[in-house]
Amino acid sequence: MRWLVVALIFLASGCGGGKATVSASSTSLAQSRLSQAETRAAGFAKSGDYQNAARQYGEALRIATTLENADAIAGNAINLSVVQQWLGRDADARAALDAVLADPHTAFSERRKVQAELRRAIVELSGGNIGAAVIWAGQAQSRCAATSCEYAAAILNVRAQIELDSGRAAEAAQLASGAAERSRSSGNQAETANALRTLGRTRHAQGQSAAALEPLKAALEIDREIGDPRKILADLADLSRIADAAGNAAAAKDYRERGLAVSRAMNGGRGAPEASLTR
């Protein structure tokens, strides 16, 4: 720890001279506008104003393109695709990723390429394009394996969902177990919960409804800890459905009512879309 403090003080003293002033003046206006747009976009995204967040990420992407800043182009394109997907605009989410995936001239880092390919797989799978999702997830996995990236668990989760949606529950269960292990070892709680949720669904698909409840309950606990209402709602909906299939009507009813409460609260008390709770 001491060496770190010493190194930081040394760095601070090194940066505190006249050179820093020169550097400050060398920061271009466009660079400042890029930083401002990114900051505003992150603020809007955090506050749930996805319309403005998308607008600001688009602006940041435009400025980054004028600066030929490969990392900023990729980062803002990926963020834009996330926000567009949250807004339900899958086509725009896909188009945003073209800034990285369809540009052979810009030298994006391998990490950015993995992120973009994984995002593309997610968008395609979300839209039901399983074939495209398989291709993009495969590309992301190949690149990730070559660079030992931190998205291995997320990629496995996407592949597990692909297998599950393709009706291959056994393969999906295997991939989900692998994703759970990976995410636990890397401390990624969100992907651990996703893996457990998928595992519960695969067991249900294999006719093991009672065994499916355990990973789903674990996923619910993690999602409550993380504090993501969409995931909590998804867990409650799955638990309700699977408890019902397991013959535990009371538990199913309890989960359904909890899910409805969450859903109503998410929609500002205006009454919830109950489709997810009744599937």
Binding site: V5, L8, I9, L11, A12, C15, G16, K19, A20, S23, A24, S26, T27, S28, Q31, E38, A42, A45, E68, N69, G75, I78, N79, V82, V83, Q85, G88, Q115, L118, R119, A121, I122, V123, L125, S126, G128, A133, E150, Y151, A154, I155, N157, V158, Q161, A179, A190, E191, N194, D228, R230, K231, L233, A234, A237, P273, A275, S276, R279
Partner: protein, 320 residues
């Protein structure tokens, strides 16, 4: 009418005139002798000649030089079969220094510019040139010939420079990329600087707080230790003494317990402060992690990116 002259006025005038004329003659003769000497009329000179197809630039009286030293001059020129016969007169004493295979060439004293001269380039023969012999002649090079020769010598050098520039041109993209990356890194320096200054400032504050709180804790612990140290001897004495003293010791122990409780209560805010300080330090470190060059030291994915979550892959109907 006649004018009478004083007697003896012109006596000896003839002798005086003759003396004057003699002196004048001697002076004129000395002057002419001096001029003749200066012109080399008293030096024995030997003629040599050469024939040139073109006598442009060669004039009568032009110096003839050997090793840059004037040894004669151009005496005469006349048309001859095959060109112009140019006659030189060279001091006879210098003939022995000019080998037979020497050649004459038309040159300028300072390269391209300067006075024209006939330069004798000595050959390698052991036999000296004879009087009246003919020399070979090398005409002067014109500016075009000089430029041509320069071109001949310079073209290979230019080709090498051109190849080198092409090489530099090919590697220009790499240099541009390097400069671009360098520019980006330099552009991030102010942010790094600010973040690190902030980090150091907050770290110093946190350290000061911690040291103050640690000091307070230490004092409290010392207080407890002192109390215990005072209490234990009293208890032991009273245990040995009597049952009354056991009661007194119990009272004393109760008091000590209360003090310990107070100490723990006072330590609780300290713990809370420590937690806040730790959280703040965590925030500062978080900021530092996002700033180059520290960002490379921390393997964290939160670089202003929204989460890439596989949950988003679930169909809309299923999850939302």
């Amino acid at each position: 009418m006649s004018i009478a002259l004083p007697a003896g006025r012109f006596a000896g005038i003839v002798a005086k005139v003759n003396a004057f004329l003699l002196i004048a003659f001697i002076l004129v003769a000395a002057f002419l002798g001096l001029v003749a000497y200066k012109q080399g009329w008293f030096v024995h000179q030997s003629p040599v000649h050469f024939v040139t197809v073109n006598a442009l630039g060669i004039n009568k009286g032009m110096p003839v030089k050997l090793h840059g030293f004037t040894i004669g001059s151009v005496n005469d020129m006349e048309l001859a079969p095959g060109g112009v016969d140019v006659r030189l007169v060279i001091g006879s004493e210098y003939l022995g220094r000019i080998p037979q295979d020497s050649l004459a060439r038309h040159a300028r004293e300072a390269g391209v510019i300067g006075a024209s001269v006939i330069d004798i380039v000595p050959g390698k023969s052991q036999v000296a040139i004879a009087e009246g012999a003919q020399l070979s002649f090398e005409p002067a090079r014109g500016i075009n010939e000089i430029i041509d020769e320069f071109r001949r010598q310079a073209i290979p050098a230019f080709n090498e420079v051109k190849a080198a520039m092409t090489q530099v041109g090919r590697s220009g993209e790499d240099v541009t990329q390097i400069l671009e990356n360098l520019r980006k890194e330099v552009a991030q320096l102010p942010a790094t600087h600010r973040a690190i200054r902030q980090l150091v400032l907050e770290a110093s504050h946190a350290t000061a707080d911690l040291s103050q709180q640690a000091g307070a804790t230490l004092k409290a612990v010392e207080k407890v230790a002192a109390t215990v140290a005072q209490t234990i001897p009293a208890v032991s004495e009273k245990l040995v003494g009597s049952i009354e003293s056991i009661d007194a010791a119990a009272v004393q122990l109760k008091k000590t317990g209360e003090e310990a409780q107070l100490t723990l209560r006072s330590a609780r805010p300290l713990m809370e402060h420590s937690e806040v300080a730790a959280r703040e330090a965590g925030d500062v470190l978080g900021a530092a992690k996002r700033v180059w060059p520290l960002s490379d030291s921390f393997k964290e994915t939160s670089d202003g990116m929204l989460p890439i979550d596989s949950f988003e892959a679930e169909g809309k109907g299923r999850s939302r």
